[in-house]
Symmetry: C2
Subunit: 156 residues, 2 copies
Amino acid sequence: MDTTESNSSSHAKELCGKEFIGKPISYLYRYEQIYIGKKLEPYGIGSGQFPFLMRLYSEDGINQESLSDYLKIDKGTTARAIQKLVDENYVFRQRDERDRRSYRIFLSEKAKKLEPDMKKIASEWEDILFSSFDDSQRKEITNSLEIMFENVLKIM
Amino acid sequence: MDTTESNSSSHAKELCGKEFIGKPISYLYRYEQIYIGKKLEPYGIGSGQFPFLMRLYSEDGINQESLSDYLKIDKGTTARAIQKLVDENYVFRQRDERDRRSYRIFLSEKAKKLEPDMKKIASEWEDILFSSFDDSQRKEITNSLEIMFENVLKIM
DNA sequence: AGGCAATAGTTGCATTAACAACTATATTGG
DNA sequence: CCAATATAGTTGTTAATGCAACTATTGCCT
């Protein structure tokens, strides 16, 4: 990969010798979708529902707004993902009597039984990503990614 | 792919107390799409065309298969992205006379003039991601992400 | 030469996701 | 209390993307 790039700004210069960081991030996202999607096939759901399910394992009974806020996913996308989870009997909605605009989302028994399966899928994906790193590097990288996440949050 | 019980369950435990690595990766990908998409609006193209344009700045005249291979993006997606770039006069196709199945993709003068603009968009995004890191950490993180990319490549 | 597998590209279809406009409920300020 | 505003959720539209089926060309093998 020997490329000669013209660098007409100080910023462009940084990009010259190496990859754009967007490339591995895009790749890791897209292939996680494929990997998780395949693993979820036997369960009748898709990769788009996975983050919501994982979030509910941590905090059952929260509403769609909270899910959207936490995952930073559009509330329309959240509405449709939850609908699919309802259709497949992974969660059910319950009107919040304190605020009748919102629904609280609860895991079904079926979903609760599958929690170990779901967490195993997540951790196996992590094991692939980190297969060449030791636990200390793993922590370091995870931490760096979360800081980058915060850096973007600050300006969005 | 290693899916042994001991390995994954020990890591599944780690998943309990902290974030799934997929969360920041997904976020960084989705918000890059939004950020780049907005920056590209004045140019009449979308975030989906950006990686192809960037790749062509490094290696002009390659074919769609090479673009797909390098970016690890489906060839159907590549076909449609290149079509949009053709429609907006950023690139043109030229039949490869040595292999008439393929087209070589070349940057137009318009695209060449905009190379500094495009690289500036890319590097400004990187500056946001890395805003709390020094150059050495930046290199370290970039390198780690590329290794994770390779780790996934190995098994896909 | 003829046939068959591989390669390059296109297109239909499905999923994920953002954005915007909309409904319904809640809250706040006169 | 009512009007204006804010919040929770839904839905239509669009873009990016992967997969699979298809066409066309190439190259290999007997």
